[in-house]
Each structure stands twice: as C-alpha cells, then as structure tokens.
Symmetry: C2
Subunit: 404 residues, 2 copies
Amino acid sequence: MAGQQVYLDHNATGPMHPEVVAAVLPYIQGGFGNPSAPYAIGQENHRAVDRAREQVAGLVGATAGDVVFTGGGTEANNLAISGAFLGRSEPMRRHLVLSAIEHPSVRETCAWLEAVHGAEVTVVGVGCDGRVRLDELAAALRPDTLLVTVMHANNETGVLQPVAEIGQLLRDRGVRFHVDGVQAAGRIPVDVAAIGCQSYSLSAHKFGGLKGTGALILRDPSGVMPILQGGHQERGWRAGTENVPGIVSMGAAADVARRDLSANMAHGLALRVIFDNLSARIPQCWRNGHAGLRLPNTTSLCCYHADAMSVVLALSSVGISVGTGSACASHSQEPSHVLLAMGLDEQAAFCTIRISTGPENTVEEARWAADQIAQAVERVRLVTAPEDIGGCGEDCPCFAHSSR
Amino acid sequence: MAGQQVYLDHNATGPMHPEVVAAVLPYIQGGFGNPSAPYAIGQENHRAVDRAREQVAGLVGATAGDVVFTGGGTEANNLAISGAFLGRSEPMRRHLVLSAIEHPSVRETCAWLEAVHGAEVTVVGVGCDGRVRLDELAAALRPDTLLVTVMHANNETGVLQPVAEIGQLLRDRGVRFHVDGVQAAGRIPVDVAAIGCQSYSLSAHKFGGLKGTGALILRDPSGVMPILQGGHQERGWRAGTENVPGIVSMGAAADVARRDLSANMAHGLALRVIFDNLSARIPQCWRNGHAGLRLPNTTSLCCYHADAMSVVLALSSVGISVGTGSACASHSQEPSHVLLAMGLDEQAAFCTIRISTGPENTVEEARWAADQIAQAVERVRLVTAPEDIGGCGEDCPCFAHSSR
C-alpha cells in the first residue's frame, strides 16, 4: 500500500460515488438554469430538484413534501432548533433538552438561544458506553419543555442513540423532537416515521454527495420560523437560489446509499472488526463506546500515552488519513466533549483517534492501515511521557473498556 | 439560430466558465478532504480554500481576511444585516434604513427584524430612473440608526446605485453601511474600500461559479454576531464544513471575471444596445431605469399590453430564456416592487421582461433574439386586451421613458 492514500475519516467527509459524479456533472458543465425561472431550462432544473427531493425522502422514510434543502447539516440543525424556538407560539415554553454529546451545530445553537434569546437549556448525560441516559432525559422534561434534540449516531464514537425510545417517550407530550441524523443517514436504515421525530437533519457529503448541501426533514413545521429570510424557495422554509448541483448530488447519493445499504453495512462491519481488534493488539488501548450499537463504519480508539495529533500526523506521512475526535473541533485545543461526557479524562481524550471507513475502502487497505496505526502509536509513545491511565476505572463493566 | 438555446437571464443564474469547470472538477472527482482536518489531504483542501479567499478578495479590492464564505448571496445579506442587528452593543440603536428596490433577502430580513426583534425600519424611495434618492436617504438617518443597506446594482433593472456617495455620507457617523453587491461583482469594477462600506455581499453563480456559495466581505466585524451556530469555520463567522468545490469555483470565477472584466463590459454594452433599441422598434415599449448608469448586461423592457409571463413562455418555446422581473419573485403573483417604486403602475410592471446577457452570448444570437422578442410581443398583444399605459406620464423627463 506504500505510496497510496488510504482515507479513513469518512465521518469528516468522503469521496463522491462515481454514479453521483456522473449524475452531477451535467449540472456543472451545462444545465445551469434557475429553478425559480418559468422558461424551459429553469423548469428542467426545477424538476431535477423535485426528483432529488423524492430521492432524499426515500432514504429516510419521509415524503418529498417534508424535505427542505439547506446549505448543509449545520444549517439544518440551526433551522430545526432556532426555527422552532424563535417561531414558537407559546412564549413561556422556552426549555430545551439536549444530550451532552451533540454536534457543535446543536450545542452552540442551544447555547446561543440561551445566551441571546432567553432559552433555558438542560444537558442530559450519557453512560460510559456513549449512549444517552433515557431515565435522565425523562426526568429532565418540564411542563415548559419545547424541544428535545438528540443525535441518531455520534460523529466521534459512532454510538447509536435510543432515538426511537425517545420518540416514544415524547409522543403525546406536545414536545418537539429533533434528531441530528447527519452521521446516520445513508449508513444505517433510517425511518423518521418510526422514530416519531418532528425533524431530522442530513448532510449530503457524509453519504457521497457534494459539500454545501444538506436537508431538514421537516415533518411538522408548525411553529417553526425560517432562519434565512428572502425569496420563497423551499416553500418559504429556506431562501436563496437552489443549489441545483448540490441538491442533484444529494438525491443521487441517497439513491445509491439506499440501494447499497445492506452491502455497505456488511462491508463496514468486516473492516470495523480489523480496527476494533487494535484494542487487543496495542497495549493500554481501548475502544470507546458501545460494542454493538454503533455505526458499522466507526471505531474510536484511545491509545493511552500516545497523543492523537502526533499519531494522526505520523499516519498522514505514510498516506493514511484518520481523525482526532471531531474535525469540527480539531482547530480547538479543547478535549472532546463527547469523550469527557463518557467519563474519560482529558489525557485519554487527547489520546483518542477516530477511524471511519467508507464503501471504497478495501479489507487489504484496512489490514495495512491497522498495522501502520499500531506502529505509529508505538513510535509516538517513545517520545511521550507516561501518565496515569484515565477512563472510568478497572471495575467499570461498560463495553467501552472491555478490551483493556 | 432555430433549435439552439439562447440564454439571456444571467441575472438569475448563468453557466460556469470552462476554466472554472476545469478548476472545480478535481474537487468533485477526487480531492474531497475536510479543510478542518490536520492530515495532508485535509490541509490541501484548506489551502485551496485560502487561495480562493485571496481570489475573491482580489475581485472587489478587499483583503483575504475580510472574506467569509457563505451558502450564497442570501445568507451573506442575512449575516450582514441580522448579524449586525442581533449583535449590536447598543440595544437602543435599532433603526435600519434600506432602499425600496432591495432584493428580497434584504427586504425580508429587515421586515423580520422589525416583526420579531424590535427593529424600526425606514424605506427610502428611488427616482423614476431607478436610483436611490440621496436626499431622502440623508433625511432618513436618525441618532439611533444602526445600519443602512443599499444594493450596488439592481437585479431587475441593472441600475447602479450611488453607493460611493452613500459611503461618503455615512463616513464618521458611526452608521454601518452594507452593500448587496450580488449583481455587481464580476460585472463592473468594485472597490469596497472606495465605497467605504462595512460589508459587501457576493454570489458565486452570478459570475460564473457554482450555485450554493457566496461570500460576505466583512470589513468591520465589530458588533456582528454569526447567524449559523456551530463549528469554528470561517474564523467563527460561519459554521459548517467548508463547501470546498463551491469555494474553489468562486475563487476561479473571480480570477476569470477580474481578468476579463474590460472585455466583458465592452461586449455586454455591444449586446445591450441591441436590446435597448427594442424600445424604439416595438410600439408602446420603453426601457426601465437610467440609460447610462446601468450594468452593461441588463435591459429591463416594458412592452405595454403584452403580459410578461406570456412573452417569456412564447420565447421559451423557441429556445430563448429571458426573465420576468426577478426570478426570486417569479412564483409570486405580485408585481415587481422595484418597478412600482420607480413609479410604474401594476399593468406596466406585469408587462416588463428582463434581458440579461453573459460573456458567452454572441452578437448574432442577440440580434436573432431581439427579433424574436419583437415578434413574441406582437403575438401576445393580439390576445391581450388593451389598457391604459402606465409609468409616470408623458411629461416625465426621466431617462427611463425617453424612448417612448
């Protein structure tokens, strides 16, 4: 594999599927009309957007009328949460509940609503397996709770959250439920009706589409206010000229992901076990998060005494791309809030790398990369001062640390 | 030209320049890294974004550090106006001034701030030549005025606004000046320092880039609050994974537009005169807006007694795309607020088509299209009941109606 690039950070972004590239090229090299224009090539673009709307809806069990295309997953989360808060019909209903492991686009939106717009926010913890505590969430609900927001799959650990159970809990309580599905859609089966959420976020580039396009599945728009003001595109939910190439790419990627879902999941699991097994091969190393209830493509690995950024850069020098926790936070020097919420200490958080595969990775690549990771950790440890091990202790029965 | 497509609605959107397509394809077919990731292909993408930042800044006389990439021109206008209002340090400073001919992304943002956030809004009129009345704008300023927002070039008429004079007027008054430059950037010389504005909006697809990418030139960010919350991308001004293909396309398009600016302007003027002359060829037809202070690519033509939508659809049937006023408002049945503000009546507004050319249009195409427009107007008039002519009357000395 020497000299080749092995990309293992698909939770940050990934390549487009060749079929998606083929679908989008005509809209880059020629078919450029404005979908709002009444003449023929405008209407052709309008139909392309409508087709993509059907395709994206089909990926998550929604109807086309629920799909609001946005400029990405972050905007979709902002629209779902800020839009619901700022547009609410009952001003006194201002309590928001989120989990401790949400993406910054959810955390920061809730923090902004608290700091600027008078929201009251409750953060619900997770177990050391990385799953939201249902009992704590139920206890957090108040008569003035407006919205609960919990992600479907965590971007750092891949751990799946009990969204269907939460949907069940909130049913008939008049509390909105938003699910950030950015990491889940296209990777595991998603049925928004079964979850029972009022809104669900997707990001095209996380499942083979272009960057710069996302969607909010807005199943219940009552009391939601647009966050971008302007033209009447997206039935008034999102102003701005439709990003036709991005939207077409998202539709095509949704179709491919839906068709290949079972095969991709099986393939992902075959690769994941190779990386999961590093926790047994590397001394003082464990895998973070629930063993089974996890995205098929994600392994979060704490290699104690091995600074993650050093490991990532060592791997980069041999052509391997893996992440340090979350790309969205990589410019900060803060330890991962996700891993801290799971009970890891700062040292353990700073020693955690994230390996996330995609359909194009091969078993051969994965085996080679796993060897390289083991070697990189060993080399980095030679120059890293040993410190005490973190986590929630030797007695902890959680799956996360079972391999220590 | 029969059987060919002649696209004359570049103010709605336009094709990408072949050099821009060539620049962006590598980021669609291969180079897909996340710019926030620390490994090699992440950093390659980071450098591509930085390069585009320099290119976009260079188009409008800004520095790279001023450029905030957004999901489009609408988002840039929202950030400039809502961001300044919601982030202001003096809560009592809540007066906004805009012109009567602003784009919906400016008008609706101001209306939203008024309805939801307690802003007070003053709308300043335009003359029958489509230019903002400077004396009225000066008189509208109050001690609590926070921001004035005026577009550089109008999307429907192409009329250039006196932005440098407004910048001069506001200098040293402590009033922010935002300029919506979406239709101007890449088509006429722009120097944000000479204008003296605090912020300036651009949209990539209006000058040969991809849809779904814009930029706010944020020269003075003091007291501005981000409108999308999340990660720390764009120095904290705009959360969300950077849309690398869109940003690269915007940078490449900026370079091409800057290089070809003089040639494109001369070519545009050569085409424009062909369409301007229709006001002499077609009975009861006039051109809207100032004769000279206008984008080189835009002709707004009122063909009285000829319903614009009927004319547009008739032209579409022979392969010609022209607009009805603004694409952003085309789904509404409202008459153009721009034309009404200029003194036209509703009937005249509904009989106005917009012809906006691009660098790829040829003189031959333009001549053929002009003939087709004249014929289409004649045909539509055969089935349209005559009514009184609108506008500001036979005695009006304005340039707009000089050809009647």
